[in-house]
Symmetry: D2
Subunit: 320 residues, 4 copies
């Protein structure tokens, strides 16, 4: 056996921090329309959760002069796994530092990834404990299902723009044990997209080639909903609330996810996602897409809007 | 840190072997009505796959004088993981033996579990390679979606009856690294149900207390479909094809799966399943259900038919 | 041509009045949980609408010492149609009277139907006019889709218990032009159920045999939702809000509707309904069901709870 | 009362005849992929039905040198209604003629509509009678649900291109009693779209302005499926079978239908449709859309492909 064993030291995308120049409007969007719940506030920041997240919080919104990603955080599967991954990062020459944690989680190792994004890895996490009012009927659910807006259910994945997709993909595989599920390598071009996951999902992280001479940008953050009908309903909710729908609902080729993209008031692209392939085979063979000239094509041929290839946060050149 | 690290040495329920006294009728049901595909035959046995299984086969049907489980097989995440699990089984005093494998998979370690069922664990597996006719449009899918009948998509989980649920549950946890997700312990009674999984699903294995003075019986085998609407459609398909629907469509309390149970012509109970909670947190806290008097109650209160508590295969006393 | 022409003088079930001994709780249920909107109040009564009703109101709740039906009201397709139907009623010897209307509608002819229920027929109706806050994005929709609870969308049909189904069915056909779509006539028994509609639906009115020595009772009132997924979601909403689910979600044999029945706090049975056959052929042949021993069987074989055959409002003998 | 009474003399779009230069391929598409059933054949023509059509046939495919509409046929609600409508047509100066009918229907009055299309109106129709093999489990359904391909369920509506939308719309209203439900009148332009129905649907007929100096062209023919999930499934089916998807799945603004458009092998645009508003109020107020610059915009903002505004059959200039 020459194949290395798969690594299961990262459990999931744990939480993210998004920057927004319109904090109040962003909070209003994420709660009233996207359907998250506000669970903590501090000057210049808000902490939110989805009804089906079992942890206290999965999203921090931080006021900033421009939109973008504050940081993305991966949750380890154990304290030992955390130590192993930090050792792997340091062995690769990553310069990071430990911090004491934040609202909802404990000590985390923070570092700068190859595409310029702040990443961190951590284990200790505070669970969500329902109140009398939010107690679910079924105890295997973290919070009562009392839907508001699009009722985003669970943090799902993130898409980061990187100047060198292959390099960033390798980095995630070698340091944190991500599995490369799919990649897009148009004929006569470098790899322009990589879809990686840590457990059984189609992706927890997508890496897409950065079209502008900049780095550290966010393409989108996604929460999942249970079914296609929930994405359809979300589209109606966004329509009724005058939220700009950029793309979807439609079905991706890569991951086969059923998607819907909007911009939150801060400018960040946010997705409502469901479905997608599930990968249970430990020897799943990476799918290399080569037949398309480029882009992030859709399964059914739905046209991809130009902005989907160009808009990211912070915008470049800066428009704020 | 006193908690042991979670083990990720088993990837999934790999395949099962069902016994049937009506092999031809069973094959016809599983293909034309349930929607699987026949990929291999030999005297007295047939090998089948679901369109979204990425391996060659996930079900063997074997002619027998009575219905029931031939064996259930767990797929390891690597050759090394396989060795570790066999070592753990042997350390616990399990007497098993290696065999050379079967249609679609390589060497497997076969043993008798605490409830009397034949189990095996293996790694080497043959992938499904589509023909020109079955080639999917999207290369991240194993087979063209060309639905027949209920279009069962993917092997999902199995429910075994065991005389001692707690003991059998402990066995699966300690030998193969199953995680105990939910358990049903009615007041003043022993544990009557346990739901365990190996990765992120609500369950790959359910253990339910055997009501009869026998052992080794199968409660049901389940394949998943993508969405609730597929279960609803399956109900119509079964209705139109005069298949006895025992229970559902409805929603379970435990696992929150949306389910539908029928009997295949051999007598085995077969489920069409979708949804269910997904468990990404590595420190998910086992949910203990104590508020019900017993049984396998439903989320919405749908009555559970008596047969669901009594029918299993082989039937007892034997009726064949 | 010997067949009489079909009559299209009644457009739909226009509105109903339900009696409730717990008006405040009933209003809270119908708004917060069932998803209607309060559009008018007066001492001892409340007027409600569904978001997709294009008229101002479709439900009046009236405080009473016991639950039941106040009246059921059919909307004529024109003033001339109204006159023709009143003439037909009077020709048949019905003693009724005109009244000036009520909140949301104009002059109505009120009379007592053969099963003892108060019925009325009317034409003049007030449309719903959205406010700035409730204005929909699409002008072909009466009200913004801003779902609360089960988001009941549109008044659909009513089921009345009558001592003599055949007689009551004939009455509706001959006086108001109802079309008999389906009937249940168990072997060696009288007709026990009739499903009638005025336009293209499977039913606007169901008549079921009254099991008790009483009359004028309500079996259930139903609002529709767009799709099966909305009924499934409603079941979760009811579960989370501790509403007793009597029956469903499941699929009826007659009408093929996908249904869910609960009791509102006043005791009346309320349905969430979707689907059902649509009847466009003007010469649709009435379907007579004779193969079942009785009851209101389900398409997939889901057991019908005993209460579904016995509970009605007011309860008999009176329990209030 | 100054408003004329609504007319209910037409029950539905009864059937259509499509012309195709590739009859065999068109038949194969409509049966294997779109999901209709072949019920009759003759030299140069084929007769098809959908599983949920209660009549014998709703589509005739006729071999021709170019694609397009053979004729569109409206079914009257009674023989008397048929006579009234023919009288209304003749009173308006329409020159038509009676013919003896065709496979599946009796005497019909054929004439040329104002946009140049052949129309006919008829009453006598042959019902579908299931065989042993196609007998449904539920007798209120015409045919067993044994889905193939997209499983198109029921003939729904047709969209015709006409040089003068207002004139053609008036014609349908005045001669056959169509109700004008919605119209699109961009600022400073003539009416470019009209949606009309005969009973409770959002539309049985759409009229769109012909962009080319020609007449008699077909924009599309639509069959309905029960739910959104069926349209989504149809998209997967078309994708897997290499059928060009022009547009959708997405939601229309006008009618609110959830749609999917493909081209059949003959070149005609065919839709899979579900949902849409239902109009029960007899005094529904025509919705006039004026806020858009033109086109057939979508509810969620999905871009409309240019071909949707230009492609019609026969193509112009002729490409065959």
């Amino acid at each position: 056996m020459t194949n290395p064993e798969p690594i299961y030291d990262v459990a999931q995308l744990g939480h993210t921090e998004l920057l927004t120049p319109n904090l109040d409007e962003s909070v209003a969007f994420f709660t009233d329309v996207y359907g998250l719940y506000l669970v903590g506030e501090e000057p210049g920041a808000a902490h939110l959760r989805a009804w089906n997240d079992d942890v206290l919080t999965s999203l921090k919104l931080t006021a900033s002069d421009q939109a973008g990603l504050g940081h993305v955080a991966w949750r380890a599967t154990s304290p030992q796994a955390l130590e192993r991954r930090v050792a792997a990062l340091e062995k690769r020459g990553v310069e990071g530092h430990w911090h004491d944690g934040d609202f909802g989680h404990g000590a985390a190792f923070r570092y700068r990834g190859p595409g310029g994004h702040q990443q961190e890895i951590y284990f200790e996490t505070e669970k969500y404990r329902p109140t009398e009012e939010t107690r679910p009927h079924l105890p295997n659910q973290p919070q009562k299902f009392d839907p508001q807006g699009a009722a985003a259910a669970h943090i799902d994945h993130i898409n980061l723009l990187v100047p060198n997709v292959s390099e960033a993909s390798q980095f995630q595989q070698e340091t944190l044990g991500f599995k490369l599920r799919e990649r897009l390598v148009p004929a006569e071009r470098d790899e322009v997209g990589a879809w990686l996951s840590v457990m059984t999902k189609a992706h927890d992280l997508a890496l897409t080639r950065e079209p502008a001479p900049t780095e550290g940008r966010l393409h989108h953050l996604a929460y999942s909903v249970p079914e296609t009908s929930d994405v359809i309903r979300a589209a109606d909710i966004f329509m009724e609330n005058d939220v700009f729908i950029e793309f979807g609902p439609a079905k991706h080729s890569r991951t086969q996810g059923f998607f819907l993209y909007v911009y939150e008031p801060g400018g960040n692209r946010i997705e409502v996602f469901t479905g997608g392939i599930h990968i249970f085979s430990p020897d799943f063979e990476t799918v290399t897409w080569t037949t398309e000239a480029g882009g992030r094509g859709t399964a059914w041929g739905t046209a991809v809007p130009e902005s989907f290839h160009t808009h990211a946060t912070p915008t470049f050149p800066a428009t704020q």
